[in-house]
Amino acid sequence: MKQRDDIYERRLIWRHRVGLCFEWLCRLATMGALAMLVLLMGSIFSSALSPGRGSGLAPVSLTEISKTHEVNGNLTYAVSKVVGGDFCFKSDPEEKIKSFSSADVRDGKVVFNHNGKRASPLFDLTVREISPGKEPIGKFKDVGPGHIPLECPVPDVHPPQPAKPWGWLTWNFLTHGNSDDPLQAGIMAGFWGSVWLVGLTGLMVVPTGVGAAVYLEEYAKPTSLTKFIQLNIANLAGVPSIVYGILGFTVFSRMFGAFDKQETIVSLTFLQGFGFKPIDIALPLGPVILSGACTLALLSLPVVIITSQETLRSIPASLRHAAYALGATKWQTIWHQVLPASLPGILTGVILSLSRAIGEAAPIAVIGVAAHLSFAPGRITGISDLVQNPDKLLRAPFDRFTALPTLVYSWVNEASPNFEHVAAAGIIVLLATLLTMNGTAIFIRQRFQKWNRW
């Protein structure tokens, strides 16, 4: 009997602790949400007020190139002309430089991102078209600062294509990366980029948003501070998305210019303990998936908080009272009854705001995402590739990417003929993705609503 009392006592203490933890987690989420929103304001002002600093990602010209003039791991070479599809460097054992395409050549220069390795890469550069089986089409040596000639054949210009049953929405279109050639251009990189983007955004926004809503609705006393936070969240739901793009650029992509002078590399060596290759993360992050996802998370956070709060408010008090009367603590009541009962409403809010996020082109463009990429994030080529190199999953968030709306936007702006068809096919893919997401939301809501008939 004595022992049972002890056990009961201990259980009481633990229940109390879990409840406290829960409350503090929710409070933390609110504070996190608030901090991000303060950051938003701060970064806009800092961008607006700082005089002529320019973008940290601007390339330096070839004549200036040397180790000290590298910026953020970007090396600049002059290239006479590159026409056609994607190229990669063959003799690049360390894979310091992965690939570039003609779109990367601007004003006769190409900027190589060698993944933040400090030293200038020294290697033979052999250029070939990325498609397997193609012969090398150009060769040059790393000769240090200097002009590197690169001759490439000019491909034929395709005549306008006759209409086909599925038009431009072909299997090739779905499974290939972007290209300068409208017949070769595909949406694969953008699709996977958007999937990663939305997945990470969801991972960030659901716990924070729901936690903040629970804190504001269930725990916070109606003080003037709470009211102020509430008002701010409501206002932020209406802030145009481009403003969030500026935030994302300043905070995540450029990191306030803190690493402008000297890039910093954070090496996640602890991953070796889990049997993965260590991952090097170059700071500032630049236009990688993580930057984009953080930006979109901020964009969707206010809406998720507000819809979750409204759902929590709509749960009848009698449900809570019934749980309390059975001896449930506050957090047990919230966790086991209130949250499950509000799941359909919360999910609806989450999916709606995520489908808004997936279609956003402006903030993604502002953080500096390029359209002309031909690889999926993390260079994942398929399931078997993933099984062999699971560390690619961890690499992907730190990889450059492109997204569906960015691709569509760039195709619409493309001057050469036939790209309008590519853009149309891209829009269909974007719409189909959105409809699938919304359909899933409706399905889930129906499933859960069966149980919730007050």
Partner: protein, 280 residues
């Protein structure tokens, strides 16, 4: 030995002359299960209960009657501290459960509510399966063994006379049950935590006569093992099911006595007015 204060005046403070001896007929069987001594209750600054002295006998049904807004629900909720949920409430005086004050600082409200279960006027099943509804109380108390949960669910549903109707659809939503079934489900849910006392706030007022009769039968069964306090507006119901009846008016306890005695021969004029007014 029990002294029951009575007030003839509702607004004026009581005076010596109004305190009368309890009639012999009031049973004073052993120690009461619940006793409130000089209990007053406040919603913020608004006082809802004035100096309530009331004893509730073990394994019997005590009915609380009185006009709307007189504080019956408030009194009932103060017996398992459900009023704690409402912001700014305050209790003075003593509420003793088995002789120990439940408003003592070191009392764990959560375990108190497991000992003193509650059934509300509006049936409030959780939007979950019937099984999960019943199992919620034991689960949050730390019972995770599935077969034991099954035993508890079956026992509680049988006690609440619902088992035969739902045994084939325990996994279905509790929201699909009829009103009367939902209320019996709530009773079963309250019984699942093995309480000693069952508080019922007008449990049958929203039900049709047939369902009401079933609930009454159920209460009649349950009082063998539980101490039951029930608020009711239906005086025939109070007369049918309760041993003791307490009459509340404007926040005060006017009269308490054996049900038969209170209905046939009330000592206070207010009680008589109320009873006869209702009986017509």
């Amino acid at each position: 030995m029990a002294l029951v204060k009575r007030f003839t005046q509702f607004v004026d403070p009581p005076n010596e002359g109004n305190i009368t001896q309890v009639p012999e007929s009031v049973p004073t069987l052993g120690t009461p299960k619940i006793e409130t001594r000089g209990m007053s209750f406040f919603y913020g600054t608004k006082q809802a209960l004035y100096d309530i002295n009331l004893q509730i006998q073990s394994r019997a049904v005590t009915a609380l009657i009185g006009p709307s807004g007189c504080g019956k629900s408030t009194y009932l909720r103060s017996l398992n501290r459900m009023n704690d949920i409402i912001e700014g409430t305050r209790v003075t005086g003593e509420v003793l459960l088995d002789g120990a004050d439940i408003y003592n600082r070191d009392v764990d409200v959560v375990s108190l509510r497991k000992r003193v279960g509650m059934v509300f006027q509006k049936s409030t099943p959780f939007p979950k399966s019937i099984f999960d509804n019943i199992a919620f109380g034991p689960r949050i108390a730390g019972q995770t063994n599935k077969s034991e949960l099954q035993v508890i669910v079956e026992r509680s549903l049988k006690q609440a006379a619902l088992w035969n109707e739902v045994k084939d659809r325990l996994k279905e939503s509790a929201m699909a049950l009829s009103g009367g079934q939902q209320q019996r489900l709530c009773i079963a849910r309250a019984l699942a935590t093995n309480p000693e006392v069952l508080l019922m706030d007008e449990p049958a007022s929203a039900l049709d006569p047939a369902s009401t009769a079933r609930i009454e039968d159920l209460i009649f069964e349950l009082k063998q093992n539980y101490t039951i306090v029930i608020v009711t507006h239906n005086m025939q119901q109070a007369a049918r099911i309760s041993e003791m009846t307490a009459f509340f008016c404007v926040g005060r306890l006017v009269e308490i006595g054996q049900t038969k005695q209170l209905f046939t021969n009330p000592t206070q004029k207010e009680t008589e007015d109320y009873i006869t007014g209702r009986f017509g």
